[in-house]
């Protein structure tokens, strides 16, 4: 895990979190593990950035939270995409694809 890559990731953390929660509600640790999984272990998000982001997105109303039993029967706070979060996910995905297309074209042409 190079440091630069995590820095790069910071701007796209919101997108990754939204993507991770698109399938099913997860608690904080679950979100971290899911991101590691969907990026093939390339990105590991520090909890110091993850939790503030979760709380911020909750404040914005993109996420909804509820307390329920976890896989090993402990109480945990689960985050789920709210409708506005789903809309946000679609918007960010579209933006991201745009950036990738432009960047790929730019980098490939050189």
């Amino acid at each position: 895990m190079g440091k630069e890559r995590t820095d790069l990731l910071r701007g796209t953390l919101d997108l990754l979190i939204l993507k991770a929660l698109a399938l099913e509600p997860l608690h904080g640790v679950g979100v971290s593990r899911r991101i590691a999984q969907i990026t093939g272990g390339a990105f590991q998000v520090s909890f110091g950035s993850l939790f503030p982001s979760l709380h911020r997105m909750e404040e914005k109303g993109w996420l909804e939270a509820e307390w329920r039993a976890s896989e090993n029967n402990r109480r945990a706070k689960y985050y789920r995409l709210a409708p506005s979060g789903r809309a946000q996910l679609r918007a960010e995905e579209r933006d991201w694809k745009q950036v990738v297309k432009i960047m790929t074209g730019a980098v490939g042409s050189a």
Partner: protein, 883 residues
């Protein structure tokens, strides 16, 4: 964004719940991670440790989450505040000293500046009051002579282009004749030609208008009453306009009531002035310049007119003179100026000392707390957070100091007003709390607290954590910077305190001199009863001299009265009128000046003034207006050093007959024979040398006024009502003006009350300064000892004895105090010129300087000795184990 605002309040109101939830969430995350690790085969403790490492510290994550929350600021603020209160409670002395230091400075500065503002910046309620002038003529000797104007002269001067308006003025003591006892009423007669002269509308009804007294015609019987008279005589009756006020049996219709601040001439009521074309009747004149005209321009405009007037009526004018206009502000408000500025300087020093104290305390304390901050930053406190914490503490102190300061300012302002010398400032000025300056001193207090609360905080909040954590706080030396600041502050405090102390003792010494002044007469159990008479009464010489004698005899015959004498103008200690006289046999044209007093022979016995030589004039001589005179010893020494004054003759030209206002005995302006020399009495105040004095029988020339000097067996003022009743039996319109006993004549002297005022305030301020400076020193030495406990322990373990340690604890401070003392002495000498002018006593006096230096050294020694003793008591073993 209602949702966001909602969550803001949610997070504020349910702060506890939100915190709890965050705590739960992170705890559960730790457990989840721990279980993950345990599945990988780690033991529980090890798994938990790894989990915490991966999470990156529960507290740090919490801080990060809190940082993105709305309402976060207030939340941490409340937290900081709670912490602050806990801290301050833990160290109450620190908190109290800092708060008191600020409060005293704020209170003193705002109270004194409020007085300065009311008296010097905004003394009069009249719009354009800086353009309202009094006219005098300055003669070649630099003396000012008041220039009255007659009717035609006023008309002429009004044509001058620099003059906007002229108001003629006169004053009489009238009496009410619609009550049971006649009451004295001070009446101001004003020419109403230009009602805008004062620019103040009436509170009720109207002010005087030109048709009240058309030029050359008899004025209308109307009166405008002042606010105080309205309150006193009519108890503030709102229906008073339109009613009739009877003055000396003549009815006047009340047409208006003036607002409280309108007190022109300090009179009770205002009547239209009867200005006639008669050139022999002179009035006082108030001149208002046009806007934009300078005083020099106006003087130049008026000068030719005055020279013309001087040609027409030679006797009224000096030989050579310059027109000298002075604004009422300059005349009535400025005299108190130097005193007030001096005080302002004193309280500003006090404010500075207070602020220096707070900064010393804050610096010392943050140094003490270095370790605490190191620990806090190690467990995850951000630098900004620590700064904010320190700021909260400083601001809390500043805030508490401000509240206390404002309360104190209010109290002390009331005290200062009560103490202000009477008649030393215009009665129109209203002294109230001055908000701008209150805000200024509060601002200064806050700035000090923030500046000195933060400057160490910024360097402190990123200390070398590892080093500090390992070491004990006591081993931490204060930074070189902090120490330098301390040194400068201590020296500055000591210097300012010394300056204040020496000014205070100079002022105190000056006041003592006044108290101990040898009066030459006995002021105890004696009062002066001033009695005015009315226009068109007792117009002949015989009628008036007999009436005055009847009054004197009526009072003297009362059982409570020991004796009573007449003293037209001779109530000491500032008595007699400066008058030119001529010595028989000296070159004509030589006209020296002496104070002429009009008395009856009982005057000298009432005051216990002994006769030094010759004899007094007796009762029959007095009643026939015999051309005799007594002189005081000063005069006898000055003109007849060989002791041959008796039998000599003097002539006083102004004693000529001027009926009906001032009838004189025949031959009054001829040669008067000196029959006796009386011993010296203070006649020019308590401070100035005694002036040559001439005493003549009061019957030589009388005014519309007399005074009876009464010595009593009982407290003098207690028989006042009886006296008034007796006078009414002689003349049913006879009133009495305000009566004071002779002690009040002394304490009422401006030089006396002003000196007492300065001495008291300076005394109070310098004691406060001394206390504050001592506290400052105490904290500096305490801080020094606290930071060096360890070092002292080692030194003692190595064989240093307690006196060595004691010396070490004191040396650096002693140097600073010494520097401060030297600076203070130099300051005192530099300010000596100011202090001799304003405090009337030299502060360069070596005795004073030595005295206050000793006081300061004693206070400093005490302040340093107490904490230094702590250094000596250090047990080497305890100090070393501190590691």
């Amino acid at each position: 964004m209602p949702g966001r605002i909602g969550s803001f309040f949610r997070s504020l109101l349910r702060k506890g719940a939100v915190e709890q939830a965050l705590d739960d969430e992170l705890q559960s995350a730790v457990e989840l991670l721990t279980q993950e690790k345990m599945k990988e085969g780690l033991s529980h403790p090890e798994a938990r440790r790894q989990a915490l490492i991966e999470l990156g510290g529960v507290e740090q994550v919490k801080e990060e989450v809190r940082a993105i929350r709305p309402g976060m600021f207030l939340e941490t603020f409340a937290q900081d505040l709670r912490y602050t209160f806990r801290e301050l409670r833990k160290r109450p002395t620190f908190a109290l000293t800092a708060i008191l230091s600020l409060a005293l400075g704020i209170a003193a500065t705002s109270a004194v500046f409020s007085v300065v503002y009311a008296v010097l910046v905004d003394p009069f309620p009249y719009p354009g009051s800086d353009r309202i002038m009094e006219l005098s003529m300055r003669d070649s000797a630099g003396k000012d002579r008041y220039a009255g104007l007659n009717g035609p002269q006023m008309q002429q001067l009004r044509q001058t282009k620099s003059i906007e308006s002229i108001a003629g003025m006169d004053q009489w003591n009238l009496t009410t004749t619609d009550g049971d006892l006649p009451e004295d009423v001070r009446a101001g007669y004003l020419s109403p030609d230009d009602p805008n002269h004062w620019g103040t509308p009436a509170l009720m009804g109207r002010w005087l208008i030109p048709s009240d007294a058309p030029y050359g015609k008899d004025p209308q019987p109307i009166v405008v009453i002042g606010y105080k008279f309205w309150q006193r005589y009519y108890f503030g009756d709102p229906g008073v306009v339109g009613r009739t006020l009877q003055l000396v049996h003549k009815p006047y219709q009340i047409v208006g009531v003036m607002p409280p601040r309108f007190k022109w001439g300090d009179t009770d009521i205002y009547l239209p002035l009867h200005v006639t074309a008669d050139p022999s009747i002179y009035f006082g004149a108030s001149i208002k310049l046009r806007p934009g005209v300078t005083v020099a321009q106006a003087n130049a405009d008026i000068q030719p007119y005055l020279e013309q007037f001087a040609k027409e009526a030679h006797a009224h004018y000096p030989e050579k003179f310059r027109s000298n206009l002075r604004s009422i502000t300059e005349l009535y408000a400025k005299p108190l100026g130097p005193t007030l500025y001096l005080l302002l300087g004193a309280v500003a020093s006090l404010l500075l000392i207070g602020c220096a104290n707070v900064s010393i305390l804050l610096l010392a304390r943050s140094a003490e707390r270095q370790q605490e901050f190191a620990v806090r930053s190690a467990v995850g406190a951000e630098r900004l957070r620590i700064v904010r914490q320190l700021l909260t503490e400083s601001l809390t102190i500043a805030f508490a100091g401000t509240i206390l300061g404002v309360l104190l300012a209010w109290r002390s302002l009331a005290l200062i007003i009560a103490w202000l010398p009477e008649n030393s400032f215009p009665s129109e000025s209203v002294i109230k709390m001055n908000w701008p300056v209150l805000l200024f001193s509060v601002g200064l207090a806050f700035a000090t607290a923030v500046l000195f609360g933060l400057s160490p905080a910024i360097q402190l909040s990123r200390p070398d954590i590892a080093r500090l954590m390992q070491g004990s706080g006591r081993r931490v030396m204060g930074s070189a910077n902090t120490k330098r600041t301390h040194k400068a502050m201590v020296a500055a405090q000591v210097a300012l305190t010394l300056l204040l102390l020496s000014a205070a003792s100079a002022a105190g010494k000056g006041f003592l001199r006044l108290v101990k002044a040898d009066l030459g007469y006995d002021p105890h159990a004696t009062m002066s009863v001033p009695i005015p008479i009315h226009e068109n009464t007792y117009g002949t010489w015989k009628g008036r001299s007999e009436y005055f004698e009847q009054i004197r005899a009526a009072i003297a015959s009362m059982p409570e009265v020991i004796d009573a004498g007449i003293s037209t103008n001779a109530t000491p200690p500032e008595n007699g009128w400066d008058t030119r006289f001529e010595l028989f046999g000296s070159a004509s044209g030589q006209q020296p000046e002496a104070r002429v007093n009009f008395i009856s022979p009982e005057y000298l016995t009432v005051l216990h003034i002994p006769l030094a030589q010759g004899r007094l004039f007796d009762h029959t001589e007095t009643m026939r207006g015999a051309p005799l005179a007594l002189i005081n010893q000063t005069m006898a020494r000055q003109y007849w050093p060989n002791g041959n004054a008796i039998g000599q003759q003097v002539k006083i030209a102004v004693l000529k007959d001027e009926p009906p206002y001032s009838p004189a005995a025949s031959g009054s302006d001829g040669w008067l024979q000196i029959v006796g020399v009386v011993s010296d009495v203070r006649d020019d105040g308590l401070r100035n040398p005694i002036k040559p004095a001439i005493y003549v029988p009061y019957t030589i020339k009388m005014r519309m006024f007399t005074q009876i000097l009464v010595r009593t067996r009982v407290p003098p003022l207690s028989i006042l009502r009886d006296i008034r009743a007796r006078l009414v039996r002689l003349d049913r319109e006879q009133q009495v003006m305000q009566v004071r006993d002779l002690e009040a004549w002394i304490t009422g002297l401006q030089e006396y009350s002003q000196q007492r005022f300065i001495a008291t305030l300076f005394g109070v301020f310098s004691v406060l300064a001394l206390v504050l400076a001592a506290v400052g020193l105490y904290s500096v030495v305490s801080y020094g000892v606290a930071t060096r406990t360890n070092e002292f322990g080692i030194r003692m373990a190595l064989g240093a004895n307690s006196s060595d340690v004691f010396r070490m604890a004191l040396t650096s401070t002693a140097v600073n105090v010494g520097a401060g003392l030297v600076a203070g002495i130099i300051l005192s000498i530099v300010f000596d010129k100011l202090s001799t002018r304003w405090v009337m006593e030299s502060s360069r006096n070596p005795l004073i300087l030595a005295g206050v230096t000793l006081i300061l050294i004693a206070a400093a020694a005490l302040a340093c000795f107490l904490p230094a003793r702590r250094a000596v008591r250090v047990d080497p073993m305890v100090a070393l184990r501190h590691e």
